[in-house]
Amino acid sequence: MLKHLTAAIALLATPLAAQDFSEGSQARSWNLYAEIPAKFEAKVVDLVCEFTGDCPADCGAGKRQMGLLRTADDVLILAMKNSQPAFTGAAVELQPYCNQVITVDGLMLDDPDLGARNVYLVQSIVPPGETDKIKANTWTKVWAKEHPEAKGKGPWFRRDPSIKEIIATEGYLGLGLEIDEAFIAENF
């Protein structure tokens, strides 16, 4: 009897962090040092709401940082990146599923030396009640709709008005235009 009880307690005490979420993942490698494929079910949460109790119904309309509260172990994952290799985050991809439970597939970063834990790149989403996955790659389309005045050739980050304004006044290095000029003359 005692033996069975001990075994049951040991089973319950098994750290959930040891769970392997790579099973069934079809995430594409980005050849990152600390990447681990991870597919899991989670509730999409607004992080400001989660910590402060300030909870708009739309989770901030894609302008607040979002988290994924993993169903299996209640661990809060920081959704840091979407699937586009274009300096783009994950909030816009996840916000449509505000406070809903979805399945995500992507890459977890785990680098204890830098303190990277439960940091995630979302590659695909299976919406609630559906079986087909959709790619987490809508950020640039959303940006284009929000910035019709910035239409043109080249990647969004060369055309974004706010970025261009800062570079025009502070320079690429952020130290002023004179330092930029000297750096460019020396290095290009």
């Binding site: 990447e35 709401c49 109790g53 909870c55 894609g62 302008k63 300096f87 130290l175």
Partner: protein, 150 residues
Amino acid sequence: MRHFTLSLLAGLALSSPGLAAEGTRIQVSGEIIDTWCYYSGVMGGPDAVVGSAHHTCALWCSAGGIPVGLLAEDGTVYMVLKVGDDTQTAGGDTLLRMAAHTVEADGMLYERDGLRYIVVSDVVSDLDITNKNHEDYGNVPGFSIPDPNK
């Protein structure tokens, strides 16, 4: 009566604010960084993806909605969720204008599952960019400054 109770509960769920977590008030100094490049290593080592060397890329990532962090002098990274009244930290202008700056922040710290999150109530000081590491690393990535000869 049962319907009334259910309606009341449903109404409360829709209108009431969420439960707040318990935070700790802190003051912390450090650099406003692009956390994706810092954690992923995609553009180089951690010393190269901060400061003036990485300023332009930090602008791109901040405007792109990637979480912005405050890298403290002891190496701790605090994920910035709010600055003053501004909750738009996924692509908003407040943090964009502080990219690569050294700041002192007063706010509430929340620790959860290995990460530290900060809700900044006040930016006590903003020293602009103090880490002039382009002298060691150049511009990172190399394409962050368009080649004027092309």
